[in-house]
Symmetry: C2
Subunit: 307 residues, 2 copies
Amino acid sequence: VSVTSIFLKTERGSVSSLGEAALIRSLRRWLGAASRPAPAGIGDDCAVIDPARGRELITVDSVIHGIHFDGGTPPRAAGAKLLKRNVSDIAAMGGRPRAAVLALALDARTSLAWLAEFYRGLAREARRYAFPIVGGDVAQLPGSFVATLTLVGEAPGRVLTRSGARAGDAIYVTGALGRSLPTGHHHAFRPRLAEGAWLAGRRDVHAMMDVSDGLAKDLASLTPRGLAPAIYGALIPRRDGANLREALCDGEDYELMLAAAPGTLETVWRRTFPRTRLTRIGAFVRRGKAPADAVNLGDHHGYEHLG
Amino acid sequence: VSVTSIFLKTERGSVSSLGEAALIRSLRRWLGAASRPAPAGIGDDCAVIDPARGRELITVDSVIHGIHFDGGTPPRAAGAKLLKRNVSDIAAMGGRPRAAVLALALDARTSLAWLAEFYRGLAREARRYAFPIVGGDVAQLPGSFVATLTLVGEAPGRVLTRSGARAGDAIYVTGALGRSLPTGHHHAFRPRLAEGAWLAGRRDVHAMMDVSDGLAKDLASLTPRGLAPAIYGALIPRRDGANLREALCDGEDYELMLAAAPGTLETVWRRTFPRTRLTRIGAFVRRGKAPADAVNLGDHHGYEHLG
């Protein structure tokens, strides 16, 4: 069944036809096995969960109708995308997800059929990554739809941050970059959770982040003061025939980017993750020492969230 | 300085005039001591914090322009309200807050002066309740403003939930109820954090929650199957001359409501919290056994989030 209309013209079949209490019962039913009884799940003032083992990780992300998805996006894909964007942030620090809460701000005329599919998309991915949706909030937002998911995780071992890259470190990316929107990668991607945890366990990996706003923009966040990235257009793995600009600037790649000491990483990676590409695209050099044939990142811009 | 306009007609002085990177630097500056350097604060893929002692608590709540506040609400009060609503949920389980993340969905024409005040209101309350804002997200929402705060907390001892009330338990509320909007209580309130933690430590207290949607609606959530609340209009503490309907239905009281075995609670409370009222408003009885002069809660309705 294709469900495309998010906002209905009449109350029939809309969120307001159900009322708040019945809506919350429906949300729990749509979540199914991704939900839990209160107080471990939805239904009390807070959700109560076990504490993190190791360090605790927290991340939050939103999807907004007309910005992050539109009428052409299946609602299951929109729900899945929201959840996976957050999982990708946990992956980027080498952690694993534990529990999420979801705040909805929606129009009273939001279609229940659409919302059910959005929740089923969320629930399927929550089951896949083995964590529950434990709480939420529903509020009225005339004319719009905003879903905000906060994900808590844990890093039992080392936490890998964006800072720590050193001069001479190689720069790697997983998978391929560019053309995320036309290929559907922006909602079909799989966050690099196992890869992130494995990379955090290797001492030769010094810094890591996920590529979500485009390599050109995100690489600046991985670059320590005094260093510069020297990357090469010919080395950058491209999705579906993307040109260099698309690979650098499109965003929504949800791949891992990391800085690591030259050595055995690639060899061991190929044995461990034979189906996932890891590509060396360049290295960090002293500032001002980038070779003339390296990509000039100043010519490229990533995704701006406030356009 | 009075800052009232949230949305500007021109780019000058608006969020979009600053751009994303400069906006995030401003948000951190406005948070001041309520912010921390990454990865313990804003700036990496996740925030990294110490794990909870005892059980972990999670709650999420949003404020939306035109719904939870309007042009008449000082932006500092709107920011403070968002944070305190979440603290009240932690208080209602006997916990203490640890860290928050904040997702903003806002129009590109949102006034920077307004937003700075909103953040200063958040920051002041975060300092008061001694926890940092460790992360966030900013996204574009044409024509609206939604701020969603997720608060994680901990309960080193017992977690007090909504279930557990017994036949014969007295029903208590802190403070007074009703007329929260006209009195400004809806943004000036102080969450009952110390009181909640103290109550969770008492074995004679069996169940607790915060009153946010009106006593008439919220009391149903504290009532176990097979029991009914017998409360009396003359006993209900009222704010600022509220009538019974206002005390039962207005909502936004952010007081604690609890079920406790009859005994020493009131006496010890008065010694411990001499400046906070604790009022016995009735008791839980077997279903169908409520006296004829008890309030018929079926005649009253609380706040509906999907009007």
